[in-house]
Amino acid sequence: MSIRTLLAAASLAALAASAQAEVKVGMITTLSGGGASLGIDTRDGFLLAMQKAGRDDVEVIVEDDQQKPDVAVQIADKMIQSEKVDILTGIVWSNLAMAVVPAATAQGKFYLSTNAAPAQLAGKGCNPNYFAVSYQNDNLHEAAGAYAKSEGFTKPFIMAPNYPAGQDSLNGFKRFYGGELAGEVYTKLGQTDYASEIAQIRASGADSIFFFLPGGMGISFLKQFADSGVDLPVMGPAFSFDQNILQAVGDAALGVKNGSNWSKDLDNEANAAFVSGFEEAYGRLPSLYAAYGYDTANLLLSALDKAEPSDAEAFRAALKEAAFDSVRGEFSFDTNQHPIQDIYIREVIQEGDVFTNKIVATALEDRSSAYVEECSMK
C-alpha cells in the first residue's frame, strides 16, 4: 500500500468521524487538586444529561484545568484552534472564567457557564455568545441577606475570603440585608484556621453569622465553630453546604441555613429524574454543581434541536428561549443572558447516615441580577 492510499484512507476515516460528531463541546473544568470535587460533579451532571439524550452527534471533550488560569487558557486555545470545538463550558472558578470567557467569545465561540458568573460578565462585559446557566455570582448571597432581614436579625457578623468573589459575596448579602453589622471580616484565601475570627465573633455581640468560604475553608470553619461554644444561627451560600462537603463536616453543619437556587428536594419532574438518575449512575447524591452541569447540557441539547452552532444567530436565539425542563423549575434568561429564577433557603438536615439539605423558604422570587442595567444588550 502506497503512502498516498494510506493518507486517503486516513482522511476518509477522519471524515467519517467528523460526520458522526457534528457538534463538538469543549469542557474545561477542575478534576485534580483541592477543588476537584466541584469539577467532577459538573462533568458527571453534564455527561449524565448527554447520556440520557442518547445523541451520538455531540462529542464532549473534557480536560482538567487544575484550577489554574494559565492552564485553562492553554486548554481553551487548544480546543478552539486544533480541536475546533463549537461550544465551551465547565469552568468552576471566577478567576479562570475571566481568563477564558472574553477571549473565547471574541473568537465567535459560544460559552455556557455551569458555575462561575462574575459581575463583570453580567454587566459591562456581557456578550451575545456568553450564557450563564447557573446564576449570577451575587445571587445566593443576596438570598441569605434577604433571609437575614426577614428573620429580623439585627447584628449579623459577615465574613468572606479577600478576593473578588468574596467581596461580591459580602456586597450581595448587604444589598438585600441593608441593616447594621456586628462585624465584617475578610480572611485569607485558602486559610484553614479560624480561631482568631471565631474569637472576634464571640467578642462582637453578633446575633447571627453569614459566611462564604468555599471548599475546604468552609469545612475547617464549621468544625472549629461547632467546637468553640459560640451558639449563633449560621447562614451562607449553598457552596459551603453542598452534598460532598457536608459529609466531611458532619454534625457541625446541622441547622445551618443556606441560599441556593437548587435542592434535591425541589418538587418537579425533571429534578426527580435527575436525582434518581444521578444516584443510579454514580452511586452518590448530586451536588448543585452537578445540577448546573445537567441543566447546561439540557439547554444545549434543546438549542441543538432547533439550530446549528454554525448559524450563530439562530443558535443564540434558540439558547435564549431556554426551552428545556430545568431541574430548578421555572427558568428563563434575562437580557444579559443570566437566569431569572427563584432562590431558596435550605436547611442542613440528616437523613439516616447522610447529611443533606431541604428547602425551608423561598427567599427571592424571579430574581435576575444586579447588573442587568449595565449590560448593553437589550
Binding site: S32, A195, M217
Partner: protein
C-alpha cells in the same frame, strides 16, 4: 479590643505556632542532617491526616487514629527515603527539589486514587470537645489547649532526644561532619532513614491533630509546607531550637496580625476598606517578618553556618 480577646488571640497564635513546629522540626532535621530540601514533607502531613481519618472511621478511637497517623507517615517516610531520597544526597539542590516535587504529585494523585476527591470526615474526640473557662474568664476550646500541650511535649521530647541520647549525639555529629561519623563506624544510611522517618512521623502527627479541626483533603499539606519553610528560614536552617522559636513567632505574627492590622487601619480609613486593606497587609506580615529577620541575621535566628 478587650484584654480577654487579646489573651485568647495570643493562645490561638501559640496553638498555630506549636503545630507549625511539628512540621518545621522534621523539615529542619532533615535539612540539617542530610542537606536535603524535602518538598514532599507536606505530602507526609496529608498521609498522616488520611491515615487518622481512616482509622478513626473504622475504630472510632482518636488515640488509635493518632498512632496510625504517626506510624503511616513514618513508614511512608522510611519507604520514600530508601527508594528515592537516598539517591539524591550527592546531587545538588535543584535535583532534590525536582524529585521531591514529583513525590508531591505522586502522593496527591495516589491519595485521590485510593480515597477519592471528596474531603474525609475526622472530628475532635468527645473527651476533648467543648470549651473550658481559663482564669480571667476566657472560654477556650479544650482541643486547642490540648494541641498546645502536645506541641510543647513534643518539643521537650525532641530536645531530650537531641541532647541526652546516643541517637541525638549521632544526629548532631551527622550535621557537623558526615564523613567523620561514617569513618567512626556509624551506619550512616540507617541513621538517615531513621531521621527521615522521625521527621515524617512528626509531620503525620501534625496532619492528624490539625485534620480534626480542619478539612482532610488532597493537597492539604502544601500551604502548611510553605509556612514551615518560612519558619525554618527564620529560625535558622538545621536548628530545632530555631524551629520552635520561629514557629511561635510565625504563629503569633500571623494570628495577631490578622486581628490587629484591620483594627489599626480602622483608625485612619472607613471600616469596609480597613477590613480589606488590613487583611491584605496581614497576609504579608509573616513574609515581612522573615525579611526583617534575614536583614538582621542572614542565617536566621539560630543558624550556625554562614
Amino acid at each position: 479590643m478587650s484584654p480577654i480577646l487579646l489573651a485568647e488571640q495570643v493562645l490561638n497564635g501559640l496553638q498555630s505556632g506549636v503545630m507549625l513546629f511539628l512540621m518545621a522540626a522534621g523539615l529542619t532535621l532533615i535539612f540539617g542532617v542530610m542537606g536535603l530540601i524535602n518538598l514532599a514533607h507536606g505530602a507526609l502531613y496529608m498521609v498522616g491526616a488520611f491515615a487518622a481519618a481512616t482509622v478513626a472511621g473504622l475504630t472510632g478511637s482518636f488515640l488509635l487514629a493518632l498512632v496510625a497517623a504517626l506510624a503511616a507517615a513514618a513508614a511512608a517516610g522510611a519507604l520514600v527515603e530508601t527508594l528515592v531520597i537516598r539517591r539524591l544526597y550527592a546531587r545538588d539542590h535543584l535535583d532534590q527539589v525536582l524529585a521531591t516535587f514529583a513525590l508531591i504529585l505522586i502522593f496527591s494523585e495516589g491519595t485521590r486514587w485510593v480515597f477519592g476527591s471528596f474531603p474525609l470526615y475526622l472530628d475532635v474526640p468527645d473527651a476533648l470537645s467543648g470549651t473550658v473557662t481559663l482564669p480571667g474568664g476566657i472560654a477556650y476550646p479544650l482541643y486547642r489547649l490540648a494541641l498546645i500541650v502536645i506541641g510543647i511535649a513534643v518539643a521537650l521530647g525532641l530536645w531530650w532526644l537531641n541532647s541526652r541520647t546516643r541517637l541525638g549525639i549521632r544526629i548532631r555529629a551527622g550535621e557537623n561532619d558526615r564523613e567523620m561519623i561514617a569513618a567512626l563506624g556509624v551506619d550512616i544510611s540507617k541513621l538517615y532513614t531513621l531521621v527521615f522517618a522521625l521527621g515524617a512521623g512528626l509531620a503525620g502527627l501534625a496532619g492528624a491533630l490539625v485534620g480534626a479541626i480542619q478539612s482532610v483533603q488532597v493537597g492539604m499539606g502544601e500551604p502548611v509546607l510553605i509556612l514551615a519553610f518560612v519558619v525554618i528560614v527564620i529560625g535558622g536552617i538545621g536548628s530545632i531550637r530555631g524551629a520552635l522559636i520561629g514557629a511561635l513567632l510565625v504563629g503569633l505574627t500571623d494570628t495577631l496580625g490578622g486581628v490587629l492590622l484591620p483594627e489599626l487601619f480602622r483608625l485612619f480609613i472607613d471600616p469596609a476598606s480597613a477590613a480589606t486593606a488590613g487583611s491584605a497587609f496581614a497576609s504579608m506580615a509573616i513574609y515581612v517578618l522573615m525579611a526583617a529577620v534575614l536583614v538582621w541575621r542572614p542565617t536566621g535566628l539560630f543558624g550556625g553556618r554562614a
